[in-house]
Symmetry: C2
Subunit: 182 residues, 2 copies
């Protein structure tokens, strides 16, 4: 018998309508009847791809992230375009950012990245049957591919070089898979 | 010899200044000289706590998340207050949301939750020496505690009941720890 914690919307104000995100402030009624404000970011959602080469290395991309003002290492990933199927997006982003093509992409898990303030959902896929092709980054996208072993990935998490939620979740999952395979 | 992908800021416009988040649009110069816009959300950062009871169950909280319009299960977590030390924040949030006190809190890893559009960083701590106390939620905070075994957590990830990035990363890490301990 779960308690109902729903916050009912009394009023909504759109405060920013950008090309990628929209921001709104909702006035809500709390379960205790009080009124509160909620600041919400709307995001189209994204995919991330866990691609492990036949040499048992994880394919990562190095990319500048303006919100952080730094260049970090992440899973290949990308935003969903309107109406786009996540698996098609994953196939496209993997090829554009890394040059690899996957025979199959298996859905692993989907999660909200920042449920406290944003509705972004990230769909994580695992690539199987990787084949090397040609990198085709978007004209205005600047990425560099690296390939690291599990031990190197774990060392890069410890050092802070890998500092992205989806990438860390995928590496821990990969570690579980490797331990099970032994 | 890593390439410089830095996007230099040409102009910044603050488009929303909320109580929790701030949103700005930056005009940037790309490495190829072209100009682009970046929509950025500024967030104060947060902590999450991985607390495993002596019965080997993970302590989770059930909470309504307005951006998702649903009630989900997550690690106990909370936003950093201005100038607050993450470890103090973790101690406070663990006690407020779950009633547990930890003898020690060990820093596990810190990660950006949505580096594409936000600078939120989440500091993950592992609680050791858990002692049961009294739940003290904020007056306007509505949370319910649950405690699940590793198998139940994995089943809840598979079913989509657990659908939060930090919580999934922590559960995969817990699985690694359990496998190592065997």
């Amino acid at each position: 018998m779960l308690k109902d914690f729903t916050e009912k919307t009394i009023a909504t104000e759109m405060v920013f309508k950008g090309k990628i995100i929209q921001v709104q402030v909702d006035q809500v009624k709390l379960p205790n009847g009080k009124v509160a404000l909620r600041e919400l970011v709307k995001h189209p959602g994204a995919v991330g791809i866990m691609a492990i080469t036949p040499e048992r290395k994880l394919v990562l991309v190095r990319q500048f992230r303006k919100p952080l003002e730094k260049t970090i290492f992440e899973l290949p990933a990308g935003k969903l375009e309107e109406g786009e199927d996540p698996i098609s997006c994953a196939q496209r982003e993997l090829e554009e950012e890394t040059g690899y093509q996957a025979e199959t992409l298996k859905h692993v898990v989907s999660f909200y990245t920042s449920p406290g303030f944003a509705n972004e959902i990230l769909h994580l896929y695992q690539a199987e049957g990787l084949k090397k092709g040609q990198m085709k980054p978007d004209q205005d996208e600047f990425v560099e591919r690296v390939e690291w072993s599990l031990d190197e990935c774990l060392a890069r998490i410890a050092s802070g070089d890998i500092c992205d939620a989806k990438t860390i979740a995928a590496i821990y999952l990969w570690q579980v898979q490797e331990m099970k395979a032994q």
